[in-house]
Amino acid sequence: MNRFSLFAIVLAFGLSWSSDVIAETSSFSHHISFANDVQPILRRHCYRCHGSKNQEAGLQLNQRSAAMGTADSGEPVIVKADADASLLIQRLVDEDQGDLMPLDGQPLSAKEVAVLRRWIDDGADWPDELAEAKHWAYQPIRRPETSNLATSNSPIDHFIQRRREQRGLDSSPPLDRARLIRRVSLALTGIPPTIEEIDEFIHDQSPNAYEKVVDRLLKSERYGERWAIGWLDLARYADSNGFQADQIRDNWAYRDWVIRAFNSDMPFDQFVIDQIAGDLRPDATVEQKIATGFHRMTTCNVEAGVHPEANRVNQIVDRVNTTATVFLGTTLECAQCHDHKYDPFTQQDYYQIFSYFNNTPLEVKNTSGVTWDFFGPTMDLPMGESQKNRLDSLQRQLAELEASREQVVQQSEEGFAQWLARLQEVKDQPTQWRTVKPEVFETSGGEDFQILEDGAVLLTGTVPDTVEHVFTLPAAEQPITAIKIDVLTDDAIPGKGPGRGDAQRSNIILSELTCELITDKEAIQLELQDPVADFSQTGWPVANAIDGNRKTGWAIAPQFGKPHWAAFTLASPLTLKPDSERLRITLGQFFGRGRVIGKPRISIFNGDPSLLNIAEDVIKLAAKEKLSKADRKKLRAEFDNSNPQLRQIQREIAKTKKEIEANKPDTTLVMVELEQPRETFVMIRGDYESLGDKVSPGTPAVLPKDDSIQNSGDRMEFALWLTSPKNPLLPRVTVNRWWAEIFGAGIVSTPEDFGTQGEDPSHPALLDWLANELISSGWSMKHLHKQMVMSETFQQTSRITPELLEADPENRLLACGPRFRLPAELIRDNALAISGLLSNKLHGPPIMPFQPSDIWRSVGRNQPKWVAADNENRFRRGLYVIWKRAAPYPSFINFDAPLRGSCTVNRSRSNTPLQALTLLNDPAYAEMSLAFADRVLSEAPSSGDRERLRYAVKLSVARDATDIELDLLQQLLDEERKVVLADENIIQARTKTLTAALKLRTADRAELAAWFAVANTLLNMDETMNQ
């Protein structure tokens, strides 16, 4: 059974197979060396409990004198030349002596035990220089001797060769040029070479042909994009908060800053300083501030009930731990609760570093009730010229509008005084609606009805499709100035009403309301105006009820189950003669399907109708003996609101403000320092509520200080110390990570841990040479990358012979060239490039290419929607794809992209069926296959199948196809031609595009459909997805 397998996993992770215990057969082919073979095993399995920090059972295995002595039991630990008598071996293999060591993991492998046995049996030679435990990583960087090199050799090749020869291995032959340009293009830019680039290189006779390619790639803007990917893993870059309310936030300017920094070969020490403390540089630039976004990438929980200080402390903890991992290769987080168990870091050290990062504000804010929102320092990004102009003009417009409003307000001062005076006069007049019980109620719909005490009519029984309800009202003494229709709810109505037609959607539609004066002789229709309602359905405003059109009306969806009202004023007040005149109101409901009122009621108003729209509290306020300033202001606002001219200006102001909002500069998250520094205390057991002693900012005691750095006590002091030539860790850790990205595994195979529990470097001198080279080149990343890819080691073939596989299964000695699967984003970029779709657009807000539906469906507020781009954004590089922490882009996850909730140093490199399914079936890849087929058919230099297949293979893997390969592909093509020609539907289905962004050039759709299968095949080839 071999699925979900991953061979390369040991390259990426610190599993227990020794990287240095090169595979042995039963008899070791080389001398067992304490430094290379034995000590790594002891370090890996034993030092945790039997090292400098802990000596369980009195056993210490990192000091020669102690290891050659006895344990607490009095037994000798190592008996020279007698492995069987050595306690060390017994506790590893003899279960009668107790649980096999180590107690906190799997027992040692047979091979590891064999190495220890053999070493003891050979006399347990432990060289003097290693007698005392001194951890290599904390020692100053040495400049290894390289003066005796042959001139053709790069120092890299020299160190690799030296170690390789110790094991009796040869190097592999150089790669052919086609493969070489593909390897180096993918390594440096993540994009495969074009056909032209391949051909040019193959035909370039000059001695520095390869160097020219390397220099071109290093200058390419694609370089920064490719190298940003790994850095964004370290920076836990994502576009959302993480946790329950995983809202989107704007960070992308930071991502672009990283790309630009790499493209401009910004000195790496400056790159570090800007990210830790760019804001604290004198006259910090916008770019330097953007860089501090590095530590604003931390996740943030905005769930109700989050405790802001706990959240803040968690964020600082994440910043300290990430800083230690990224820049020091140190597992400082182990010292958060107590002194580091294995490495020489104390809890005091931890909180001293914590103190540098502690002067930050809270990053959640209580916005209402129990709602918390993401918060904290953001910065406006500089705007482009046109955006700036637009914003300026909008702002001018706003100022003008505000001025004219002011003018109107001034001019209407007199009007306001009159209005106020009238309000004060009318205070005793009626301001309330009065319900009226109809004298007669008639309906055209045949319903049962009942006139209730308050004048409402409850209709039951038959539900007519359409109906007219007619109210005849008694005469009243005072003039009628306005009427109101209530549509009430009642338990007797389905869904409580107000409409009777549908319990779920109890809408009413009042098509036409007419109001008539009935005299002895005639019925005179009265003019109504100023329609108002408590609520109107979109597209169904209350004005429709008096527009004379039976097809329009007033409706109330979706506010079902609630009473509503509509009111109208009479154009002129109406006084009825008690004996001869009546008022008749007809509610015409002509929509159909029973959208009819269940419980209507009529009210009338006898007062000044202009008071109707004025709230009662306003009238009361106006009646006050003495008006305060605030009272006047409120009344003034009420008055202004009733002025149509002012309302118009207000509307324009609102519109302009909205536009200004839309044209506001983009923002990004930055670090700022509190003016008043916080005090920092040791947190007992890491608990922010149990504080111990106060600490001041300071660097770890075990690492060298640099007295030349100004003692500012802030992040700048720390950043300068990190990048000081006295700190041996930053250069070593950095070059090791770059090496791992280019060669597939680090010189130290645990790039996240350079501590005592990490692996030893396979080539210590090489590591130090590279670290030295980094500093002496002025911290040039491009210089180092050039050194690496120019080495012969890099340019070897990656052919693995059985002998090699046996001698060095992980290729730690680099007797052949690196070969490994591309990281997730580059799998996609590579396929996009091959299919000719890749967009070269740099920078900007994150993009949404195709993804299956229902990926974004977590709980939480303000969830954004995924809208797949239908333009060039659909085909941009993977690092621009929006990264939502709770639901990252699924095809990336299938190829081992991390979730970005925390710092990731090394991605695993798995090999699973889900990857196969992704490349075979993901509609995004189907789209690429189609475009690839289209490209081959329209661009191949010749139209024969064989030539086209050759072209397709060359696009995929740069090299020429072999005859076997061409035969296999031809066979597939022939079969698929038969399939598509037999069924037009297949042709349609395969060549249908999902997006306008993909334009096909091939007219012969049948051919295209057949070639789709070839393209799909080539994009799935192992070689295509490997660097």
Partner: protein, 479 residues
């Protein structure tokens, strides 16, 4: 624990790839197998447990949002009597809550037949009438009433419960087991996730593999669209064409393998073969229409629907096929308001299928080797959130409670028909036998034959484990 290479894995690889290795001699690959070489090692190959554990697989049902355990499993008569009284100040001030800030009123289970507890089975385990079906399998359940956790917000608490850590970055329990034990089924992932309702707040990290290789993470089987993402062929690609394409890919890869000799290519070939088989095996697995009528009646399942019942039946089908860890998430238990009516609604959805799952596993002889876990990220407070109108049809809810909550486990070497741990009279604090999340997880691993202190992964210089540096196996509940 580390991945140990197995001879089986390597040999099968070579047989499976159905390919003469040419220059790449089979014997030479196999020669290495006693050694520590990782080559050709299948990280998901079954691996021996640390000791004989009864459970072979886990069905882990997580009720997202946290059910009101007080009204389901931990009945508090005193709380019921004191319903409506102020919550004792000393208790309220001793802990933090997500929503409630002012001194709340106690909230007892309604004194109503519908919410009554019944002593069930031979064991007399008290279970609410809201779970009538579960009552009938009471003797299978091991109730833990004294669980407590460190986190009181959903996202962090979900991560803590499932990964032993309240932030992101650590492996989930399913991926730990996948890593420690591998899986029995060759054609399915070892860790499958089934979801009803929205995805939980913690998102996919809840079934992520943290720092473990990503091959161990859970794979979500979806009830809409492709059950596994990208399972179905692109439009216009039929079964024959798909087979032809995969065959061509694999032949091209074999040519490469012969030339380059990278064993990773051989793995790639077998992964494509497996992908092809999964295209048949997964839809077949997900299609429950062929299950007999009595099974559908027992679970309350309807083929083609998205429902918790369907997921329970799928869980059984997955375990039957040798999947190591099946995780069910069901959303909608976060009852800050109207706790009683909403609890009645939710229990109605899950009671019948959960009981059916237990019975079905029992009948099939799978319950002894399958550990069923019913839990949540925390419990709910004994006091009311919102008004608690005594005697009214209360709209009150319960806030998050981390200091004491009840979960149960069944099958897989648990004693069954017993309850462990007690809370105080108000259900506020643990009165006896506290079980921390780390203890709980240590116990789950123990039931699987894993010593939680030895299931470690070295990362950043530490031997990381699910239980951090804590965790005591609760021996009293292990059969």
């Amino acid at each position: 624990m580390n991945i140990t290479p197995t001879a089986l894995g390597r040999r099968t690889l070579l047989q499976r790839s159905g390919f003469g290795l040419g220059a790449f001699a089979l014997s030479q690959l196999l020669q290495n197998e006693s050694g520590a070489s990782p080559l050709s090692n299948d990280p998901l190959a079954p691996k021996p447990a640390h000791f004989q554990g009864k459970a072979k697989s886990v069905i882990y049902i997580h009720m997202v949002g946290a059910p009101s355990h007080l009204d389901l499993f931990d009945f508090k008569p005193v709380l019921q009597q004191r319903n409506g009284e102020d919550c004792p100040t000393d208790l309220f001030e001793s802990s933090k809550f997500a929503f409630v800030r002012n001194l709340p009123k106690l909230l007892g289970t309604p004194n109503d037949k519908k919410y009554e507890f019944k002593r069930c089975g031979q064991s007399g385990l008290p279970i609410s009438n809201l779970l009538p079906n579960l009552q009938s399998v009471a003797d299978e359940l091991t109730l833990i009433k004294s669980l407590h956790t460190n986190e009181f917000n959903h996202g962090p608490a979900q991560m803590f419960m499932l990964s032993g850590f309240g932030r992101f970055g650590r492996p989930s329990i399913g991926s730990w087991l996948n890593y420690g034990l591998g899986t029995e089924n060759q054609d399915l992932p070892g860790f499958v996730v089934l979801i009803t309702g929205n995805v939980l707040g913690a998102g996919s990290p809840a079934w992520g593999s943290g720092f473990l290789p990503s091959v161990y993470q859970g794979v979500e089987f979806r009830s809409k669209g492709d059950p596994v993402l990208f399972l179905s062929n692109p439009a216009g690609v039929g079964v024959q064409s798909r087979k032809r394409i995969i065959d061509t890919v694999n032949r091209l890869n074999q040519v490469q393998l012969a030339d380059i000799g990278d064993p990773e290519i051989a793995t790639r070939i077998s992964q494509y073969e497996l992908a092809y088989r999964m295209q048949t095996s997964v839809p077949e697995l997900m299609d429950i229409s062929a299950e007999p009528k009595n099974i559908h009646e027992m679970y309350g399942t309807k083929p083609g629907q998205t429902s918790f019942a369907n997921n329970c039946l799928l869980a059984r089908r997955l375990v039957e096929r040798g999947v190591r860890f099946v995780q069910l998430f069901d959303q909608g238990w976060d009852t800050h308001g109207s706790v009683f009516s909403r609890l009645a609604g939710k229990t109605k959805q899950v009671d019948q299928p959960i009981a059916a799952l237990i019975k079905d596993l029992r009948v099939r002889g799978l319950l002894d080797s399958t550990l069923v876990v019913w839990s949540a990220e925390f419990g709910r407070t004994p006091f009311a959130q919102g008004t608690n109108d005594v005697g009214q049809n209360t709209k009150a809810g319960r806030d998050h409670h981390k200091d004491a909550f009840a979960v149960w486990i069944a099958g897989g070497g648990t004693k069954g028909g017993m309850s462990f741990g007690e809370t105080d009279d108000l259900g506020y604090k643990i009165a006896e036998n506290p079980v921390h999340v780390h203890d709980f997880n240590a116990t789950l691993l123990h039931l699987m034959g894993i010593n939680h202190e030895r299931l470690t992964f070295r990362y950043q210089g530490r031997q990381y484990r699910l239980t951090d540096v804590e965790g005591q196996v609760v021996k009293d509940i292990v059969a």
